[in-house]
Amino acid sequence: MKDRILLAAALGCLILGSGCANVKPWERNTLADYTMRPDRDPLTISLCEHMWFSREAASGGRGVGGGGCGCN
């Protein structure tokens, strides 16, 4: 059983290791596209924030002020 776990771990390492990709700075054309920006649509963001706050009572959990306590 222990051998099987070790073998599974080794295979897991191989699979995860092969998933690592080193993207060079000059290959970031698609990543630099405007559509990849999380803040590209302020209206959608504010609506999402509002729904999130209403549902989770977690205002400000998206990297802005507030600790997610829902106090504000």
């Binding site: 051998d3 099987r4 070790l6 073998l7 080794a10 295979l11 390492c13 191989l14 290791g17 092969s18 690592c20 080193n22 060079k24 700075p25 000059w26 970031r28 054309n29 630099a32 596209d33």
Partner: protein
Amino acid sequence: MNMSLVKKSLVASALVLGICGLTALAGGKGIKVGDDFPDLGTFSLEGKLPDDLKGKVILVDFWASWCGPCKDSFPVMEELQKTYGEKGLVVLAVNLDEEKSAMDDFLKKNKVNFTVVRDASKKLVSAVNISSMPSSFIIGPDGKVAAIHKGFHGKETGKQYAKEIGDLLSKRVASK
């Protein structure tokens, strides 16, 4: 299950991960200040290089049309070429766009008088191995890298360019 098979698998995994790690480390090696800059004529760059680069101060800038700070750097480099061109500065912008049409469209909207070439094969940029876009190298008259700039930070970078290029050009005149 045979224990040796497990051991072999573990060794194989360690080897593969080790090789991946070494490749990543080797990929992180670039040129430093004081190193000789590679000979630009040997990289089959698209576009015409200036005829006589020997003994000149060269600003080699790696850019792409999708990179915002690269666009910001163009007026600064144009000004540098205008101010220091006759004193011995050559501004050489090396484009790294995947499609040539992207570069052409950009240059139609942002007309410049300095030299623009394209590193379609990415051989030059791989040889110098930049870590951010844009990246620029100021090369002295001796062909050695005098300064390296990662990114473009507006007026601050512009001032540094002017100072470094001015110093190199003064030394060039003094040595003649």
